[in-house]
């Protein structure tokens, strides 16, 4: 809660043009946002790009933050908007590639999806993007249901429903492969 208060104070100072507050916010919030992006099975390069794009957007719309509101959901709302844009762009690209019947271009080592190396992304891979982001915000970032609802511009009921569906899927998958889940747990 104390950290939240600080985020809000820093945000208010950032709006007043305080560089040290802007720098502190960037260093404090960026690791969480980066993790949010990489947990969506994005490559490291993509996550870096999206993080920079998110901060550019945050900077452009920083006046839309109101000091009476929690700051973290505001950051996540913008990060999510950028991520959804990226997702749609990726779908458009993949559709074109399929239509042209071109052999898929192999990614370079730098663009290799994190899912292979990242246990969180692997664990969440079977979930839909909306379920994945809900689980990451709730269970990895530790946001409350209301904060997630704020970040996703949806209602608390809708967040509960997504979390319930995600847990049902995870429970079924992990129960079906107890060996692999145990190994994953041991690795972590």
């Amino acid at each position: 809660m104390h950290q939240e208060d600080n985020l809000e104070m820093l945000m208010a100072r950032y709006q007043q043009g305080d560089l040290s507050a802007a720098s502190a916010l960037i260093h404090r919030v960026s690791p969480q946002l980066h993790r949010f992006f990489t947990a969506q099975s994005l490559s490291r390069t993509d996550a870096d790009d999206l993080l920079q794009e998110t901060w550019l957007r945050i900077h452009r719309v920083r006046h839309t933050y109101r000091s009476s509101e929690p700051a973290l959901p505001w950051f996540y709302a913008i990060a999510r908007h950028i991520r959804v844009d990226h997702y749609r762009k990726a779908i458009r690209i993949s559709t074109r590639e399929q239509r042209l019947e071109v052999e898929p271009v192999h990614a370079t080592a730098d663009h290799e999806p994190f899912a292979k190396a990242n246990s969180l992304a692997t664990l969440l891979a079977p979930l839909s993007p909306a379920e994945r982001e809900t689980v990451v915000m709730l269970k990895v970032t530790g946001m409350s249901l209301e904060e997630v609802a704020r970040a996703t511009s949806s209602t608390v009921g809708s967040v509960k429903q997504k979390a319930h569906r995600a847990y049902k899927k995870l429970r079924n998958l992990l129960s079906a492969t107890p060996q692999s889940s145990r190994q994953r747990g041991e690795q972590s």
Binding site: Q16, A22, P31, R35, H63, T64, D85, K89, R150, S181
Partner: protein, 237 residues
Amino acid sequence: MKDNEIDNLLQAAGASHEPDSGLNSDVLNHITATVQQSLKPVRPLPARWVFVAGLLLIGFAVAIAGAARAGFFGIEQMSPWQRLLIFPSLGILAVIAAGEFASAMIPGRLRRISSGALLAVAIVAMLAVFALSFRDYQTTNFVSAGVACLLRGLLHAVPVALLSGLLLRRGFAVKPVSAGLAAGALAGLAGLGVLELNCTNFQAAHVLIWHTAVVLVSAAAGALIGWALHLLRSPRA
């Protein structure tokens, strides 16, 4: 497997992932330098209620101005019971729509109702109110009179949508389609308000279908415009 076991697994995976997140200081320094270049004080958005009041004022002003130009014949011929049922319902729905549109333009704002649910509630509520209020089941000039009313309602919805967009121009819609739908629903309700004030055709089928269609068409147009604006502004693939 129990929920708390999944919780533990997710938290462990998240914690193990953290040191290898790959976020290096170069990226952070680059972001800081970029932000620094154009850092200046900004004026935060006013409180949400200011926007809600402004939106309601726009809707009310356009509805009254439209009815003043065309005549208040509809409300004059209504029974007190019909007036009491229709106009407060329209007012309540307009307050909800204005609140949702304002919330949609402020990132991180808690939504009480989704835009789709808002539209469904508005349509169902108005259908129920009209079904209770009008008992003339004739269908004289159903299409010609209906199309004229639909166009008149939409014609008045346009300025409401434009002025609402102007009022909330400093906002940022993280869900543009949803924001467009809420704006369209609000504008449509204002258009419907003009029809209720002016239209003297009290045939149930006319009011139920053509008057309610103003809200539906306006909300659909708003969603479409929100989607198109988002496509125009987003980087091309």
